[in-house]
Each structure stands twice: as structure tokens, then as C-alpha cells.
């Protein structure tokens, strides 16, 4: 499993258990995230704290899951981005699409 999950208040926290989020694991990540949405979770917080780098295929997987979430009246937020991953989100304008928080506590309070 790539995502280790636990419930916290009204959110499902999904910790990515990877250092390198890339082509070799993006499809599995997408499948797991889609399952969480299909299981009825309305607010999934994807935690990138352990991730060193993200490639384009992993970003594509995240976007694909967000589209499904939108259709299910759910939402995905991201937390724990290192400075390079945050810059990458900005480069592809995903900072305008995802709610980005420093950590899970911030995500829960919507700070």
C-alpha cells in the first residue's frame, strides 16, 4: 500500500509512504486514492511529508483523483509539501486547484 490512512475529525488523512513519487508508482497511487473517494470519504488530506520528489505522472494521478472527487462532492487537500514540490505545484498552477496546507492540523481547521 502506498497510502496509509487514518480518520481525524471529519477528514481522512492519507500519508504517502514513498520517498520517490514517480512513474513506477503513480498508477497504484491513483488507484488507492480513487478507492478512498469511492468508499465515500468526503475530505481526503494527502500528506506528502515523506516524499522527496514528485514527477509529472504522479501529479497527473492526483489531478485524475481530484476530478473524481469533484463528481462525488468530495475534496482533496494536500499537506507536507517540501519547497521543491510546492514550487512544482505552482509551476503547473495546481496551487490554484488544490487547497495546500503546511500540515494536517492546518488542513482540518482550514487555516
Amino acid at each position: 500500500m502506498i497510502l496509509q490512512t487514518h480518520l481525524l475529525n471529519n477528514a481522512l488523512i492519507a500519508d504517502i509512504q514513498l520517498k520517490e513519487a514517480n512513474l513506477s508508482n503513480s498508477e497504484q497511487f491513483k488507484g488507492e486514492l480513487i478507492s478512498l473517494i469511492n468508499n465515500g470519504n468526503k475530505f481526503v488530506v494527502v500528506n506528502f511529508e515523506q516524499v522527496t520528489y514528485v514527477d509529472s505522472s504522479f501529479l497527473g494521478a492526483l489531478v485524475s483523483a481530484l476530478k473524481l472527487a469533484m463528481n462525488n462532492s468530495a475534496d482533496i487537500a494536500v499537506v507536507g509539501l517540501n519547497s521543491d514540490i510546492r514550487s512544482l505545484f505552482q509551476l503547473v498552477r495546481l496551487d490554484k486547484v488544490f487547497r495546500i496546507y503546511t500540515n494536517t492540523q492546518e488542513a482540518l481547521t482550514g487555516a
Binding site: Y53, S56, D84, L88
Partner: protein
């Protein structure tokens, strides 16, 4: 030009990226700030990922050169020429100018921007992006989001980014150029 060999194995992406960045930091000591470092890392990861997607078991060569504070990062292989299939056009090499309006082709995009290619000659395409300022993001914006970011990431992280195909040798070369500034 310093050359590095990529064996097209996923596990090799990050170690090779670190190795190349270390080399660049050595040859361009005072001109690689944090932002340039991010751009270089991003470009390398995406060039190597592109290679993984398209090259299978063959090797790819990454070249690094620094001239007049311009950093050139190139990826060279002998795989299939760049394939771009859009609703408007399917690219085949050599390119024919008459196929494209104003010698430009829209490759992919969404409300935030479009990746385009400008035909420089029958064997060369220069990538660039047209970016739009989206103030309000709604469900339609999200549903229309592009899910392919590789070439767009490299184009945005580079000051110039192009692709050349050599029909006589079958060599494909992507080259990214970053203008480094003296700190």
C-alpha cells in the same frame, strides 16, 4: 560537454539527478541559486521520466554544458521520434510547415495554459507555453484540467526548450536552456 548515461531504470532517476546537479553546482558555483536549483532538478527529473516512458531498455545520454552563463541540458537517444497526436494534427517527421497555421501546433492544455510547439525547420520543434490568468476556479475548470504535464513542466522551467530529430542517424535530442544569473 559532460555526458551522463541513464540506464532507463526508475531507480536510477533520483541518483542520476543528484549526480548531475552536483556536477552543475561545481561548474557553476556562484550562479545556481535555490530557484535555479529547483528548475534544474525539475527539468532533469522530467527528461529522465520522458526517457523511461519512451525508451524501454535502451540507454539515454544526458549532456550538460555551460556557456556564457547559459546552462544547456540535453537528452539524446535513438528511440522513436517524438510522437504528438492532437485532435488537429498527428506529427510525422520530417515536419511539413504547411500543416500548421503560423507554423505552430497546440500540443495540450487547459484553462491555465497551453503547451505549443513552433516549427523551426522540418526537423526541429521549439516548445513554449501560453499562460492564462485564471482568477476563479470552478468545477468546470477542474474537470477540464490537463493530466499530462511532462513537456509543459520542462517548457515552463526552461528559458528555451526544443526537440531535434536527425533523420540520417535517428538521433532525437531534447535541449533545455536555463539562463543563470550572477549572484
Amino acid at each position: 560537454m559532460k555526458k551522463f548515461v541513464f540506464n532507463n531504470e526508475t531507480e536510477g532517476i533520483y541518483p542520476l539527478t543528484v549526480q548531475i546537479i552536483s556536477y552543475i553546482q561545481n561548474i557553476a558555483k556562484d550562479i545556481v541559486d535555490d530557484h535555479a536549483g529547483f528548475r534544474i532538478k525539475t527539468i532533469l527529473i522530467e527528461l529522465l521520466t520522458n526517457s523511461l516512458k519512451h525508451m524501454g531498455n535502451d540507454v539515454t545520454r544526458i549532456g550538460v554544458d555551460l556557456k556564457n552563463n547559459k546552462l544547456y541540458i540535453s537528452k539524446q537517444d535513438k528511440g522513436k521520434p517524438l510522437q504528438i497526436n492532437t485532435r488537429q494534427v498527428s506529427l510525422s517527421w520530417p515536419l511539413t510547415h504547411s500543416k500548421f497555421s503560423q507554423n505552430e501546433i497546440a500540443i495540450y492544455g487547459d484553462d491555465f495554459g497551453t503547451l505549443k510547439g513552433r516549427v523551426k525547420n522540418s526537423n526541429q520543434l521549439e516548445f513554449f507555453t501560453e499562460d492564462f490568468d485564471v482568477r476563479y476556479v470552478n468545477k468546470d475548470t477542474i474537470m477540464g484540467l490537463n493530466e499530462h504535464y511532462g513537456l509543459m513542466i520542462i517548457a515552463r522551467a526552461s528559458d528555451a526548450f526544443n526537440y531535434k530529430h536527425k533523420p540520417d542517424t535517428g538521433v532525437n535530442t531534447f535541449t533545455s536552456v536555463i539562463e543563470l544569473k550572477q549572484q
